[in-house]
Symmetry: C3
Subunit: 208 residues, 3 copies
């Protein structure tokens, strides 16, 4: 379906760009930037495919996505200052990618016969674990564990997916609604600085 393919390439581009910028900020060399772009884009789907045993992992046979990641990394390295100016466009692309990748993860879970709860977990992993691996490789605590609503948008999108499915809403309509919802949550979360609560602890605890 050409609309979803376009969305996948936009999302792949945006995830790869987020990886490339983070790697450049950490002063990695060209090889490091390419690898981080790569794991940010395909890390979530890789973890999902590993734990459900859908091997070889999807990206090994997706040459188009690999090419998009590679070109994105090169472009960002060459024109980083210029591309940063379009930060809102990058943000929207990232949100679109998050929405689509979450949807892909959910539907792969359904295709493998998992329960709705597990499918939502798989969607969330697909959408957000590329960023987790990016941050681990760059030696920081993953951003999505500390700030903003990000993975929560995936979880919400996943719950709405199964609610609408149960109401027998048309399949294509559900897919589009879930993606739009996730993009919308991301937009509102960043605009209104929504965040999940952080516990303030009275003093450090002893490590267990």
């Amino acid at each position: 379906m050409s609309f979803l393919l376009a969305l996948e390439l936009i999302g792949t581009f945006a995830f790869a760009a987020s990886g490339a910028f983070a790697a450049i900020d950490k002063k990695l060399d060209a090889f490091g930037v390419i690898i981080i772009s790569f794991v940010t884009s395909i890390g979530g789907g890789t973890v999902r495919d590993l734990i459900i045993g859908s091997l070889p992992v999807a990206w090994l046979s997706n040459h188009l996505a690999l090419l998009v990641v590679f070109l994105t990394a090169i472009l960002v390295m060459l024109f980083s200052t210029f591309i940063r100016r379009f930060s809102f466009l990058l943000f929207i692309s990232d949100a679109a990618g998050l929405g689509l990748f979450t949807l892909i993860g959910i539907e792969k879970g359904v295709a493998h016969g998992f329960s709705p709860g597990i499918c939502i977990v798989l969607g969330t992993i697909t959408g957000s674990f590329g960023g987790v691996i990016r941050d681990v490789l760059l030696n920081s605590v993953p951003l999505i564990f500390r700030k903003e609503i990000y993975a929560s948008a995936c979880v919400t999108g996943g719950i709405v997916y199964f609610l609408l499915m149960r109401l027998d809403v048309n399949f294509a309509v559900v897919e589009i609604l879930v993606i739009v919802l996730i993009v919308l949550i991301r937009l509102l979360a960043v605009h209104y600085k929504w965040a999940l609560p952080v516990l303030v602890t009275p003093g450090k605890s002893r490590k267990l």
Copy 2:
């Protein structure tokens, strides 16, 4: 077997609680705390299932364990100060979990026909790699590589398992003895501050 199931849930609770406390200490948000509780509990079994190819990984069909992890994370966030008071109980639960998870890992290795040495490796991974992933995600060098006897308890338990098996000791007795032994080693190690030797090097080396 109801005794082992009870032990598994206690261990799952204790591992999840150790993850939740560590995440709270690092000031993660609610989502981060839940994820860290999760990987601490199921990370070891996940790595084991991945490398032996027992896919989908076990926790995808273990809704009870997932529920325990989720509730533990919520409870620890709500009542962290109160729960910390029972640190000895948490410690004993953690040791019981370590013992049982090691046993589960060893027996899964045996069921897949691996040699005793590999089974002991699998048991050790099952028992201790959840904590390794927890520490990597929280951006610290894994605790078990630096301090205390922890994984060594798994290795010792594993060796005793195969010795007793060779002596034709009753299966259920072996299982219980191995768990008790691992709990005991942990207790003694913490009480007497046992630690593995750390090499003191005369000056920094050049990186290879």
Copy 3:
């Protein structure tokens, strides 16, 4: 083939030694040193086997390699100061290991019917991802993303492999040439301090 087996053991030894030295420098205890030696040696092949679904992973049935890793870790702990004196020998062994592991990864990809591009990726992962996992566990940004030509040697070796194959060069000759080429690139890269470009950015960017 006894020449390749000798090379594999030399490479396994060198990779394990590089892990052991890095772990000692970070003041890990004996268990930590053994584990880091282990993941440095077998990490690359493990990631490769996981993503292509060749499970159980190779090292579970390679007792000889496991023994070499274990003995290397023990030897390095006992005689670290003495062994460091032979740093050039360690460097050459590491380069030989990199060459051979890359070759093994490429050929496993070919055996699984992947395209040349994917095979080169698999060879690069086999050769260099053990070091990536080592650095992540030791809480630093992976060395190969920051310094020197390392993974680029694997990529170059992989391209030359497929060029020579297309020219119908004798199989054994191709294998030896690729390994020699990778060793040579490493030697020249270190001698002439070759490095990939790092982008100098004017000011920090906002995180996406």
